[in-house]
């Protein structure tokens, strides 16, 4: 007879084994290792919540302290490899196989471990891809998640950093998996229920609050004249040109500079209300002046940002907040919004090749993808028109019936021609290819493929790749904004001038911008302190960003 309830029975057995270490659902931090050893089985697929920001660090420490004799060969399926413990488990044999998305701070170690064969890599995903696979072929047996507080029934308040939690729980709890949540405190009543208690099997009272990194804070004091010049060109040459209202920004200084120029330079150009009104964006502190100046209609967030809680609470017309007043973020939904409901993604990268492929990978680091490839791609499933989308579509259409034309998402790379220590941004060949060869990746880790990129903006100008009609034009358009890098100096000057005459390349002077006007005086805020003032004292920056 066919067994239809094997998974369910296995789950019941795990829960029963775990209950020994719990009072109801509540487990003290000191018993976390015992709990995990009771509910885990060798070879399990485990999601150890490591988001872009929020980390289930108490459970990560517990997992890495498990006995490898008992718990081994786990298959980790999590978006972020962020904490040292996330990799420690592969060194001890507790885990063997890995499918993940982003590994910022651990990028160098993960490269070494991949190279040394300590990690059996499934794939490096984008966020949406990995989330999708949670529901198809990477469904977790056990999810170890993090929240701010829970009640005794397991009702969970994630705090403003909801991030990946609902997605992870959805996939685990409804497919016979076990969900363990670490919380900072057990309360009588949670401020709001982000995850209903019947989806949470165990609640571990963490020994200290979970760790959150202020990833999206860019100090205006560090912004350079070059970044300001690039931002001016982007605003005038792209935002205004296409009338971009719905957008996503990357986390670099260039886009932060754009945010700070909206209330000054943007205002002067008369663009208020015409651009940058609806956002899929984390709550960047540098967006505060634009919000306060009435530029921004609404913002949906992937996660939150350290120090922004009070400000967000006082601006519910702008942000998505719960009945309790605090931010409700959601990475899966916001990524979807960025993919389908935004007309532009604009962000930075470390390397761009002659065709426009880009990568943030260097030879010694596997940083992963995160969400940029989702935002930075043209969604072929999109069917609703906007002026911006249609204009880009028209520019990009080379052949075919105009009646059957579809729009294009703008995918803009905003880069300085040289990075730190005079490392060129423009290269003949991406380091990612060499890395893929070295560690045997089937797919080279390209962040944004050339066919998705529509514009490249550097301090030398804007290259509109939509208007390029063949590979040679494309190459010369890229060389033509690549400044004094070897790629830039290798340009065909005549062809570049011809492209400029056609408007494929536009220099600052073509846009009516005087480079010498790119001054820090244009920034709506020149320091973190200015941002605090703009916020009316509601923004509370972390100590390391203060100079008062």
């Amino acid at each position: 007879m066919t067994e239809w309830r094997g998974e369910r029975q296995a789950r019941d057995a795990r829960i029963a084994a775990g209950r020994i270490h719990a009072a109801g659902k509540i487990v003290p931090a000191t018993a976390a290792v015992d709990l995990l050893e009771a509910i885990l089985r060798p070879g399990d697929r485990v999601c150890l919540e490591g988001d872009n920001q929020k980390q289930a660090d108490c459970l990560a420490r517990a997992l890495s302290a498990c006995d490898p004799e008992k718990i081994h060969d786990l298959h980790m399926v999590q978006s972020g490899i962020v904490l040292p413990e996330h990799l420690d488990v592969f060194e001890t044999g507790i885990a063997r196989r890995l499918d993940y998305s982003y590994s910022g701070p651990q990028g160098a170690r993960i490269a070494r471990m991949l190279y040394g064969g300590q990690i059996e890599l499934g794939a490096v995903h984008t966020y949406l891809e990995l989330f999708a696979r949670y529901f198809v072929d990477l469904t977790p047996n056990v999810a170890l998640i993090a929240g701010v507080s829970a009640d005794r029934d397991g009702n969970l308040y994630t705090g403003p950093n909801t991030e990946d939690t609902p997605t992870v729980v959805e996939a685990t709890a409804f497919k016979n998996g076990v969900v363990v949540a670490q919380v900072n405190e057990i309360v009588e009543t949670v401020p709001r229920v982000d995850i209903p208690g019947d989806r949470i099997d165990f609640v571990v009272k963490a020994d200290r609050p979970f760790y959150v990194e202020p990833l999206f804070t860019r100090d205006p004091a560090a912004m350079t004249e070059t970044q300001i010049l690039i931002a001016m060109m982007a605003i005038k040459g792209i935002y205004a040109e296409y009338g971009i209202r719905r957008l996503n920004h990357g986390i670099g200084f260039g886009t932060a500079a754009i945010e700070l120029l909206l209330p000054t330079y943007g205002e002067k150009l008369g663009l208020k209300g015409k651009i940058a009104t609806h956002w899929a964006l984390n709550p960047h502190p540098t967006l505060i002046p634009a919000i306060e100046s009435g530029w921004v209609k609404q913002v949906h967030c992937f996660g939150s940002e350290v120090g922004m809680d009070r400000y967000i609470r006082e601006r519910p017309d702008i942000f998505f907040t719960g009945a309790d007043g605090s931010l409700r973020s959601n990475r899966a939904f916001c990524q979807t919004a960025g993919l389908y409901a935004c007309d532009m993604f604009i962000g930075a990268t470390l390397q761009i090749d002659l065709m426009g492929h880009s990568s943030t990978i260097t030879q010694s680091r596997v940083a992963g993808f995160g969400g940029a490839p989702n935002m930075g791609s043209d969604p072929h499933g999109r069917r609703h028109p906007t002026d911006a989308w249609m204009k880009a579509g028209r520019e990009g259409q080379i052949v075919g019936d105009p009646a059957l034309m579809r729009g294009r998402k703008l995918v803009v790379q905003l880069v300085e021609t040289f990075g730190d220590k005079l490392v060129p941004t423009f290269v003949e060949t991406l380091d990612a290819l060499e890395l893929a060869r070295k560690i045997g990746l089937e797919l080279a880790p390209v962040m944004i493929y050339a066919d998705d990129v529509t514009h490249i903006v550097t301090e030398e100008g804007i290259a509109n790749l939509l208007l390029c009609r063949d590979a040679d034009e494309r190459e010369q358009a890229i060389r033509g904004v690549a400044g004094y890098t070897e790629v830039g100096r290798g340009r065909d000057r005549a062809k570049v001038e011809a492209l400029r005459a056609r408007g494929v390349i536009r220099r600052p002077e073509d846009l009516g911008i005087e480079p010498l006007d790119a001054d820090r005086a244009l920034l709506a805020a020149k320091s973190i302190k200015d941002l605090v003032h703009w916020s009316g004292g509601l923004y509370e920056p972390p100590a390391r960003f203060r100079n008062w």
Binding site: T417, F418, L422, G483, L516
Partner: protein
């Protein structure tokens, strides 16, 4: 430290009467540019002291573009470099020329 000197002939002298000007600061990723109106009106000389060796070609290209654009005839330019990127160098040169034209 590496020292580089480039000499160019210009079509016109740099306008203005300002005898000298200085812009920028010697700091990491930045540079100091000193401009002096001491050369014949069709001559321009740019002397660079940089702690980062091996970028002579880039300096040559940056200087050539600047000379072509600003026509800084009569000007001797001295640069103390702190490891600035080429775009910063271009910007400072243009800022310096503007100060001399004042």
């Amino acid at each position: 430290m590496e020292s580089l000197t480039f000499r160019h002939t210009t079509k016109t002298p740099l306008p203005g009467t300002q005898p000298s000007a200085v812009t920028g600061v010697v700091a990491s990723g930045n540079l100091e540019v000193l401009l002096e109106r001491v050369l014949p009106p069709d001559a321009c000389e740019v002397a660079i002291d940089t702690p980062i060796a091996g970028y002579g070609d880039v300096w040559a290209a940056v200087v050539a573009d600047f000379v072509a654009r600003a026509q800084p005839g009569g000007i001797r330019i001295s640069i103390n470099d702190g490891g600035a990127r080429p775009d910063t160098v271009s910007l400072r040169l243009l800022q310096g020329a503007r100060l001399m034209e004042a």
